[in-house]
């Protein structure tokens, strides 16, 4: 399937993410490498999407494009009606700050900051006062079940706890979209289930739209839809929940 179109729409709302004819080509020296080829995809507001596929299939590249970390070579990419493919670096940075939360495989917390200060990081870009930032970070930590670990540094937390802090950091500025790159890839089964349950809760109870890259079919079961990519092309879409 060269241009699979996945349309998942909820009643009375258009797609949050709308991708048309999206391509991404990297140039390494004289070589050109097309990583994504003419992708068409709609992701509805409030959906939980899992992106699967073998290594090198382009899933992380697609995720980076959706999250505004990279720009496409061709095609259009709109999130919440905004053409992010047309934005410059500065505009993209401001857009990411207000609209997207990121969760990485290796948590990527600041090792010298406490959990509380890590969660406060995105709020530094807002006009909130120090007290408000602290309060909001506390609420986010409470939501992920780590209020009692607020003063701990990442090295004093388990992998699962660190990932939950990373999720708190991702949701603290109340973004519409959560972008997760292998969020359970570095966790044991139990911690992975806790993290996935948390993501599912954020999706179902708080209406967060989540796009998650994973290798793990069990992780993908937590999502409402699963997309498979191969060699830069969408090959299959399944409704999983």
């Amino acid at each position: 399937m060269n241009a699979a179109v996945a349309e998942v729409r909820q009643a009375n709302s258009g797609p949050l993410v709308q991708i048309r004819g999206l391509s991404k080509t990297y140039t390494r020296g004289k070589q050109k490498l097309e990583v994504l080829h003419h992708i068409d995809l709609d992701i509805a507001r409030g959906d939980f999407f899992a992106l699967m596929g073998p290594s090198g299939s382009g899933k992380t590249t697609l995720l980076n494009l959706i999250g505004g970390l990279d720009s496409p070579t061709d095609g259009s990419l709109s999130v919440d009606g905004k053409r992010i493919d047309k934005m410059g670096e500065g505009q993209l940075a401001r857009w990411r700050a207000g609209n997207v939360g990121f969760v990485f495989q290796f948590y990527n917390l600041m090792p010298a900051l406490t959990a509380q200060k890590n969660v406060e990081l995105p709020l530094l870009l807002t006009k909130l006062s120090a007290a408000q930032r602290k309060k909001n970070a506390g609420i986010a930590l409470q939501l992920v079940g780590l209020a009692d670990r607020a003063t701990h540094k990442p090295s004093e937390l388990s992998g699962g706890q660190q990932q939950r802090v990373a999720i708190a950091r991702a949701i603290v500025s109340d973004p519409t979209l959560l972008v997760c790159d292998e969020p359970t890839g570095d966790l044991d089964r139990q911690s992975a289930e806790e993290v996935l349950t948390l993501l599912q809760r954020l999706n179902r109870e708080h209406g967060k739209t989540i796009v998650m890259v994973t290798h793990d079919p069990k992780a993908a079961e937590y999502a409402s839809h699963t997309l498979h990519l191969d060699k830069g092309t969408l090959v299959e879409q399944q409704r999983t929940a």
């Binding site: 990121f102 090792p111 010298a112 990081l121 950091r169």
Partner: protein, 387 residues
């Protein structure tokens, strides 16, 4: 201020490395403070207001070559001259050779030529009436806890008495204050009678070290100086007359161009500091590329990242620099005290502090700019992928 915690935590992410870097910055700015104090000590006497109103007449050949006492009357007669006094270097030490005392044998008219020495009429009278009398500055009195009326033995490092004894007894008859414009160290002086010195020393020669001439107007300085030098032209005691400021400056230059020496040392120190701190900052940023990528991911702009890294470098320099200059502020007076007056280091003035803070910021920018540019330019997807 809201980013301070972020900058501070990044700075002390590797505590040991940061502390060692801080120590080198502290050492550099400690040197900067102390060497600048040395430079000020050597040059401050060459730029006083009163220094332009006085001429110093010394031998054309060397300050160590004496001039005839008889010259005084002829200099006094020159139009434009208000008063003439003379000095001889005494070279005194108190009890121990390390307790050096800046001591000069002066005639009765000398004190009137120096308006920066503030004396009461009673002090002047007492000094004139006491053969072994000595007038001392406030700081010197405080250093050795000397009181008026106290008998003080000073050893001359050059001039023994007629009986061969190098110890000269003196009676302190006055402790003088100095004007606020006085040259650095004037409050450390010890003045004794020239007659007592000339008649009592083994090499009594009726010669004076140099004359100090008070002018009626500073505008006449060149004219009067030429007239004074003309008095001794083609004699065996030709003179060189210059303003007191110029004389002090040339006296300091006999030791060496202190300003140039200080600048050369500081250039070497700061060049090394830039290399060292620059390397530390580059390493610190290299290690934190993924963290900087995360900051950019969550919405920090390129400029914010640039500013954060620069702020980190500047903060490192400012912390080390302020501690270094603070230590210099404490050590300079302590060194002066410990040297027994041999080293006259003035307190670190606000000019040195301002120069120091400017240097800290400039060096911070210099060492931080390349790592900051690297942080600013990093591509998020490459950095997160470890490329």
């Amino acid at each position: 201020m809201k980013y301070f915690n972020l900058v501070w935590s990044a700075l002390f992410r590797r505590k040991t490395r940061t502390i060692f870097t801080l120590i080198s910055i502290i050492a550099a700015f400690l040197l900067f403070g102390l060497l600048n104090a040395v430079r000020v000590a050597f040059t401050s006497g060459s730029d006083t207001l009163a220094g332009n109103e006085r001429l110093v007449v010394a031998s054309r050949f060397s300050i160590m070559t004496g001039l005839p006492e008889s010259l005084k009357g002829r200099i006094t007669a020159i139009p434009g001259v208000e008063g003439v006094g003379h000095e001889n270097w005494f070279g005194g030490v108190y009890q121990d050779p390390k307790n050096f005392v800046f001591s000069f044998a002066v005639d009765e008219d000398y004190l009137a030529t120096n308006p920066d020495i503030l004396l009461t009429p009673e002090q002047r009278q007492k000094f004139a009436q006491t053969q072994d009398g000595a007038l001392i500055g406030e700081a010197l009195a405080a250093r050795y806890h000397w009181k008026v009326g106290q008998q003080i033995p000073l050893q001359s490092t050059i001039f023994p008495r007629k009986n061969g004894d190098k110890t000269w007894p003196f009676t302190i008859v006055g402790i003088y204050k100095t004007s606020k414009d006085a040259a650095n160290g004037l409050d450390q002086m010890f003045f004794l009678h020239w007659k007592y010195f000339d008649e009592g020393n083994m090499y009594s020669s009726h010669e004076v070290g140099w004359y100090v001439v008070k002018l009626k107007s500073p505008k006449d300085a060149d004219k009067v100086a030429q007239a004074i030098d003309a008095l001794s032209a083609n004699s065996d005691h030709e003179t060189k007359t210059q303003t007191a400021n110029a004389f002090n400056a040339s006296f300091a230059k006999q030791i060496g161009n202190i300003g140039l020496i200080v600048e050369a040392i500081m250039a070497a120190v700061f060049f090394t500091l830039i290399l060292l701190t620059g390397n530390t900052m580059a390493q610190a940023v290299r290690e934190r590329i993924p963290e900087l990528a995360v900051l950019k991911t969550i919405g920090f702009s390129n400029r914010s990242v640039l500013a954060l890294v620069l702020a980190e470098a500047i903060l490192l320099l400012v912390i080390g620099g302020v501690i270094g200059l603070g230590l210099a502020s404490v050590l300079a007076p302590a060194l002066a005290k410990g040297s027994g007056g041999m080293i006259q280091l003035p307190p670190l003035g606000w000019v040195i502090w301002i120069e120091g803070v400017v240097l800290m910021i400039v060096i911070g920018i210099v060492v931080g700019v390349l790592p900051a540019l690297r942080g600013m330019r990093l591509r998020i997807v490459d950095a997160l992928a470890g490329r």
